[in-house]
Amino acid sequence: MSTATQPASQLVMPAKHYLNDNYGIRSWLLTKDHKRIAVLYLFSITFFFFVGGLFAAMIRLELLTPAGDLFTSDTYNKLFTMHGINMIFFFLIPSVPAVLGNFLVPLMIGAKDLAFPKINLLSWYIFIVGALFSLATMVTGGVDTGWTFYTPLSSGFVKTHVILMAVGILTAGFSSIFTGLNFIVTVHRMRAPGLTWGRLPLFIWANYAASLIMILGTPVLAITLILLALERGFHIGIFDPKLGGDPVLFQHMFWFYSHPAVYIMILPGMGVISEIVTCFSRKRVFGYSFVAFSSIAIAVFGFVVWAHHMFVAGISTYSAMVFSLLSFAVAIPSAVKVFNWTATMYKGSVSFETPMLYAFGFIGLFTIGGLTGLFLASLGLDIHIHDTYFVIAHFHYVMVGGMVMAYLGGLHFWWPKITGRMYPEGWAKLAALITFIGFNLTFFPQFILGYMGMPRRYHAYPEEFQVLNVLSTAGASILAVGFILPLIYFLYSMRFGEIAGPNPWQATGLEWETSSPPPTHNFEETPIVTEEPYHYGADREVTVVP
């Protein structure tokens, strides 16, 4: 296992690692090293996160007052559409898988690289091409269909560049398919000797489950968007009611991908939390196999619940009942995970470094986000809160309170591995606290707003909703600080941070057994795994709670 802690002053950067292996722009743009590709993704998605964040800030500013006085309604409609598209397709979906997953999957399983390094680089390029389409759309005037592209509005009514944007998302989708494919093959075929399925880190299990969704769901989004573009471009009638099409079918096909897609976003985040909680509790994760299999269960169940987005869309009552029942089933594995993380801390040795603070934030906020999902899965209640701010609040509790927290936690946790240097702990704790406070102030009022009946995507709203909207906007400005701070100190620490050493957290896992930053081929010699995962406190007796 890991070596004993050395005083920070004695640590030195390894002489040769993946960052200084060679230099120059070509060495980055033509790299096949999964770690460098992860860094490329990191910079790309950070850009899109802040572009999406800018749109969010503008939305919140507009909603400060009831009248639509800051932007025209067309501009506002474009803002929330572009916010959604940027955040979902160009930040959340690639966030943990493409950055942390790319960096860590081969390291954690003791492989030299992913199974298909060229395809890995290709998927970054495909992502960038998709992103360029999206940027081109933004520059030429944006899209105002909402990120859901509901027909017939998107196919026949709006006058913006829907096709261009659809092509952009479609392209980014293929990037996600290839990433998922790469992970699945790598996990199956590239594991180090001795690393059985029962010994895989939970982060790998979670990414594996998310990859399943990527390869099974994304193609359906692709064909749906192709049909939408054909319909808009050639006026053929597959979803257009004028030509006998059924607009509700578009919703079925769209949500067949887009509901599981939220599990693409959250599952890898859950994997990150499993790693962090065990490490900072110095304890083996509670119920390893239950946490592992719940990831797979979420991936599978996630595919059979999509029509809970359509309870008031005109689907049959019978169908609504089926989908509601199945939707409750998907809540169970998530609950199992939360309880297991909590139980992991029991009789542990808990410390409070920044990643752990984010993990606390994740567990708390995800619990609220998950439980408010039950409101929306419940048929009678969903009639009232569907398409209101309640949905917005629920979604952001899961995606920002859950996923972004996990992403930031993971970034802090593995930052020493990625860069070889530590981030400034004090500032990071401050940022985590600010994010937590800002987040709750932004999104909690939206639950109430939603139940009060404020519909989503409203440019102007009745006056009685103003107080809560002002609170939410105030929270958003705090949240913005919480997100900008890490950007600054991460950049700072890349040059000036303390040298981390191979294993600053004294964590288990193969990625901590190589130097920080790792060498280009990850390991000096192929590691052989002989231990159970999360083998903390090897000297102590193992006890089992009855």
């Binding site: 509601s324 939360v338 040795s349 009678g380 009745p462 406190g537 009855p546």
Partner: protein, 350 residues
């Protein structure tokens, strides 16, 4: 200036109470579990804070606990499912005696038509204490009819009638929102629902200036379009007799049976020869692009009233929609008497 910070919209319909009940139950569940998890984390974090001389105890897990925290959430969620589903089922079944109103959504306004002929834009007047069923269709994109005070919502689709019902319990004026994003002025597609006491409502009905009831307008259209040339009662008619048709099962010539409801009648006007009544030839021309959505509603309503003129015994009827008007001896019947009932159709073309 005084700000109020209400946590609930007003309760102004019969389902508002039950929906809020379910909501409160869920809020309770959410609070309980969030606090449970939050407090446990806090407790563990303090109790097992890392300190010298204390090491973590390696616990692998407990199958018993796993089963407990799988089964308990499963049980709770099944309770929520059944509760929510029962409510949904109730909200999806309009009572037979509901007052009918027709709605059309278009970018970016709501139009409502009352059977007696009153038309409203972005406003809807309904009586208190009586179920109201709004049958809606969209002229362009998908809209959604949402009245928070009633806790009802229904997407309004193009090319297909959908309905929503509520029974208002409290006089007042309430928000009507479009809650499905529908383009530029989505947030301006709002209106007001005014709930009136029955007497006030009756006065309101009589007060407005009205061209003619929906059914009588529909009858005019029926004659203008020449429908009566074929749809006659005599045996030599080329089209099926429409009297007594509404709400009935109809046998088609491919062997299937459909209920002659709003959607079937609308479809039969626009694409008449797809579902042909058994024993007839597919010869009717299409009226697509000829009749507006308003006109279609009037025709549908007219055909519905044709069934009411028959005076058949009620127990012969199959669909609740047929029974509804006969059972309710109030305003709507008064309205019917005011508006000339359709006469047996003369067999000539206008």
């Amino acid at each position: 200036m005084q700000y109020k910070l209400p946590l609930f919209p007003e309760q102004a319909s019969t389902v508002a109470g039950p929906v809020d009940g379910l909501y409160l139950f869920l809020v309770l569940i959410t609070t309980f579990f969030s606090l449970l998890v939050g407090l446990l984390i806090l407790f563990f974090a303090i109790k097992y804070k890392r300190r010298p001389g204390h090491e973590a105890e390696q616990i692998h897990g407990s199958t018993l606990l796993e089963i407990i925290w799988t089964v308990i959430p499963l049980g709770i969620s099944m309770v929520i499912f059944v509760w929510g589903a029962a409510l949904y089922f109730h909200e999806r079944r309009p009572p037979a005696n509901a007052l009918e109103v027709y709605g059309i959504g278009k970018q970016w306004m709501w139009k409502f038509e009352h059977p007696s002929g009153q038309r409203e834009i972005n406003a809807l007047h309904v009586p208190m204490g009586r179920p109201v069923r709004v049958t809606m269709i969209s002229q362009d994109v998908i809209h959604s009819f949402f009245v928070p005070a009633f806790r009802v919502k229904q997407d309004v689709l193009p090319n297909r009638y959908v309905d929503v019902w509520f029974e208002a319990t409290k006089p007042g004026t309430y928000h009507l929102f479009c809650s499905q994003y529908c383009g530029t002025k989505h947030s301006a597609m709002i209106g007001e629902v005014t709930v009136m006491k029955p007497d006030d409502y009756a006065a309101w009905l009589v007060g407005g200036k009205v061209d003619g009831s929906l059914a009588s307008e529909g009858e005019k259209l029926f004659q203008e379009l020449g429908c009566i040339t074929c749809h006659r009662a005599d045996s030599g008619a080329r089209g099926p007799n429409l009297t007594g048709l509404y709400g009935r099962p109809v046998r088609l010539n491919d062997g299937r049976t459909v209920i002659a409801d709003n959607n079937y009648i609308r479809e039969s006007i626009l694409n008449p020869n797809i579902k042909i009544v058994s024993g007839f030839q597919p010869i009717m021309p299409t009226f697509q692009g000829v009749v507006s959505e308003e006109g279609l509603i009037q025709l549908v309503k007219y055909i519905e009233t044709l069934s009411l003129q028959q005076g058949e015994p009620l127990n012969n009827r199959t669909s609740p929609s047929e029974i509804r008007d006969n059972e309710v001896p109030n305003i709507q019947d008064q309205m019917k008497q005011q508006n000339a009932a359709p006469q047996p159709l003369p067999g000539k073309k206008p």
